[in-house]
Subunit: 312 residues, 2 copies
């Protein structure tokens, strides 16, 4: 039985999420997680499923257990777009966090079945009004948009890797995106400005009508035609594993917008409150564990706390 | 003719400010400033003077020009507590900022007349209800409080130097302070916690009923018995010299509280809005130059902009 927030009288729009599904080995200063569920689409779709019907587009290999499939099913996530490739194992990533969590090293990356992933959409997804391009190569993100048969509101995430090795493809993609979400390092790479206000303005000139720059434990800043909005991080005191914080942030963000079928300044600000809260759950445990147990009551409680913290 | 904001129907309380008055040589990635007015009490008293009558306690030497005295006079700052020591020059500091402004090196420090500074208070200051101990040695901060003849609300600033070389004296001082303002590095040094929420709680257990941790371009967080409040920095796009940002922040903060004669959670939150705005002016030019030209209209305009930025 899925958990879903009731945000609007009108029926929520579905959201199409495309990204990676992975197994991660994670070493933090406190603990190790081995072969735990990871990947941008896993975090994003589970986050999104609290807000609206979610269509998951991704690929898994011959080692992907039913127990993980059930985690998606439990939240009623539509898996018609989840490809199963029996010729090899699931995408695998291993990483290690430094003492203070503000840096991490990649120890190992095995693309496995992801190497030949082509995100072809089921016919039933091609008119979905809200699309989240979670973090994968911009070539694959383009391929998803190429298949859409109706106007969709497009939210996109990316990472430093793609800015380095697929720069032009990413710049082209930005022109097709309505809401771009990047972190502060990525915004500096893309704009060559370390002033977050100038960087946000420059990113908007590069295509997306709306931009959010995430600053990790310092919150996030929204740049919209109607103005700027700054929100702090939720006050987490028990940080366990930051992996997936950004993916679940953007999943909740896009999920909220689909749920209320809006993309105006006021709606995006509300979406950021929920996205901040969802990210705060994710980092309190390995994998999607805490994200899945947050619950609608827990989410609304933290949202109220966050509102109190930002109200002068 | 002084510029003063009108914040309350009741008459503003005066505020006693003690700290350093200095000449600075500053090198930034863009420009150099030579023998410009600096020191914690200069920034703090000029900031404070926008809010309430200000009493300046400090020391200057035989090289301190009338032109700088006039800067204080223009804002009606009471200079009875400003000692003039003709035996030597004014405190001098030279520093250089790195490319991105987030680090600086001290190139030279000449204590000069500051070496024998003993902040003895004029009789007329000893019952002032609001006291700001701007950044100077905690031994001198103690000496000021020792002379007070009435209960005062005490706001205090400090720096890494004093945490290192006068640790116990500073810990004793914290028990006499109502509102402690530190930056994130200092809070970590004092509490050994790099989690800002835990650090804020620990600092409150060390004495001050209220604590503000400043995070530079990421804003500041208030820890009060009644709750937590987080505020972003004002969106400055033309950063010229961060020197004095913290001093003017705390000056405006204490000045606002004196002006409204309050120290409750709601008042401190409002004070942080003004403090954030005042700090944003300071960093847009060398010395107190932009702080002095901000004007009451400019301050209120930025306060409104900041309110818009934090309102969901």
């Amino acid at each position: 039985m899925s958990q879903r927030l009731h945000l609007d009288e009108r029926e929520a729009s579905p959201l199409l999420v495309v990204g990676s599904v992975a197994f991660d080995n994670i070493i933090t200063p406190y603990a190790k997680g081995e072969r735990i569920l990871g990947g941008s689409a896993s975090f994003a779709s589970l986050a999104c499923s609290y807000f609206c019907p979610t269509q998951l587009v991704g690929i898994i290999g011959n080692d992907f257990d039913d127990i993980h499939i059930d985690r998606f099913r439990k939240q009623d996530i539509d898996l018609e777009g989840l490809q199963i490739d029996k010729t090899g194992p699931t995408f695998f990533w291993a990483g290690k966090y430094h003492e203070n969590f503000n840096q991490r090293d990649t120890l190992e990356t095995q693309l496995n079945v992801f190497e030949n992933f082509r995100p072809d959409l089921p016919a039933s997804y091609k008119q979905t009004p809200y699309v989240l391009l979670a973090n994968i190569g911009p070539d694959l993100q383009h391929h998803v948009l190429d298949q859409m048969e109706a106007e969709a509101y497009v939210v996109a995430d990316t990472m430093n890797l793609w800015i380095n090795i697929m720069h032009d493809t990413l710049l082209d993609l930005m022109k097709r995106v309505h809401l771009l979400v990047v972190n502060d390092d990525e915004s500096e790479m893309l704009t060559e400005s370390n002033n977050i206000i100038l960087a946000g303005e420059k990113l908007r000139e590069m295509g997306p009508e709306t931009v959010i720059i995430k600053k990790g434990s310092h919150g996030a800043v929204l740049f919209h035609e109607a103005g700027v909005f700054s929100i702090p991080a939720y006050p987490v005191t028990d940080l366990r594993d930051p992996t997936g914080a950004g993916d679940s942030f953007v999943g909740a963000l896009a999920g909220y917008l689909a749920a209320v079928r809006r993309s105006d300044f006021a709606a995006i600000k509300q979406a950021m409150l929920y996205a901040t809260v969802i990210g705060s759950f994710t980092v309190e445990a390995f994998s999607c564990d805490r994200l899945e147990t947050a619950g609608v009551v827990g989410i609304e409680e933290r949202r109220k706390t966050l509102l109190d913290i930002i109200t002068p």
